[in-house]
């Protein structure tokens, strides 16, 4: 397979892999490095890659492992998303912008505070719209584990949202 064909084939996964890695490493530059490394490794393993039935799950698993390695090697915890969420529509009023920003930041804090597995399941289900089976394949866990993590993540988010709303935050 030529490089151009290869890049064309896996280009469709670039953004979802980037978002997934960003959820784990918390930094845009590091997430981009991870995705680059994933693509390079996938290219080097062409013979294995071409025989894989679930390409996306293969790539997500590699992204997960490389992201966790990067996180652990630098001894850092995942940080809040930064500049990406500040790109708001020009038609919004300053007050509306501030309110939406606060909301987004509040959710960022909540999601960032989830345990690692719940964070990954949250990302794949809520953001990427994956089925429970697809999530199980990507993370190499059972369907039951996926359901449990989905349930726990949503429960935590619901409680914190209600608490914030009750305090008028």
């Amino acid at each position: 397979m030529q490089m151009n064909d290869f890049l064309y084939h896996i280009h469709q996964f670039k953004d979802s892999l980037y978002r997934f890695s960003l959820r784990i490493v918390g930094r845009t530059d590091e997430a981009e490095d991870v995705v680059q490394e994933v693509f390079i490794k996938a290219w080097e393993k062409q013979e294995d890659y071409s025989s894989i039935q679930n390409t996306e799950a293969f790539l997500v698993r590699m992204t997960k492992n490389l992201s966790i390695d990067k996180l652990r090697s630098k001894h850092r915890r995942a940080e809040q998303l930064g500049d990406e969420v500040m790109k708001l529509g020009t038609t919004a009023t300053p007050e509306k912008n501030a309110e939406v920003t606060d909301t987004i930041e509040r959710m960022e804090d909540i999601v960032a505070g989830l345990p690692e597995k719940q964070k990954m399941v949250f990302q794949l289900r809520e953001i990427e719209g994956k089925s429970y089976q697809e999530i199980a394949d990507c993370l190499d866990i059972s369907m039951d584990q996926v359901k449990v993590n989905v349930f726990r993540a949503r429960k935590t988010i619901k409680e914190k949202l209600l608490k914030a709303d009750a305090y008028g935050l």
């Binding site: 980037y18 978002r19 997430a31």
Partner: protein
């Protein structure tokens, strides 16, 4: 969908029982701007999700950077059998070349009677001839093994250094 329908879906959602289609209904509802005030506490979650889905890797040079990195790092170390085959070919070439050279020199000496003549033994006994050839071949073989080992050691050291440099560069 009215308030009661949304409540039913939400309860399923918190229990992890909704389908992807049902979750899309909830996302669309909470991002429609027409959220019932009684449900406003949950709106941030679905607004956040919609915002996150728009995050993308914005690097126009992404593909070319990957191409450059794979091209630059594409010099793979030779496999062992390839190394030995190349060494064997090189040594064979040298041996054949030396043999031809020596043959020519011997012929020249025999023809010209040069003062640099080498003593040429004429062996009449086949058994003696066998022993002499065997010893000669063993001597050549020994020299070849020494050379092959030195070349192999050199290549192994080169590969080790190359790997160290590659790791440090990442």
């Amino acid at each position: 969908m009215d308030y009661n329908d949304i409540i039913l879906l939400l309860n399923k959602y918190w229990d992890g029982e909704t389908s992807l289609q049902e979750e899309k209904i909830l996302k669309d509802y909470f991002n429609s701007g027409k959220t019932d005030p009684r449900l406003s506490a949950y709106a941030p979650m679905f607004q956040y999700i919609q915002k996150e889905q728009q995050v993308s890797l914005d690097n126009d040079d992404f593909s070319s950077e990957i191409t450059n990195k794979t091209t630059r790092d594409n010099v793979k170390p030779l496999k062992r059998n390839q190394i030995w085959m190349r060494m064997a070919a090189a040594i064979l070439f040298l041996v054949v070349g030396a043999w031809i050279y020596c043959s020519l020199q011997t012929d020249n000496l025999n023809n010209t009677g040069s003062k640099y003549a080498v003593k040429v033994y004429e062996v009449e006994d086949p058994e003696e001839a066998k022993i002499i050839v065997k010893e000669a071949l063993m001597m050549v073989s020994g020299k070849m093994n020494q050379g092959a080992k030195k070349a192999s050691d050199g290549i192994n050291n080169f590969n080790k250094i190359k790997n160290i440099i590659s790791r440090k560069g990442k």
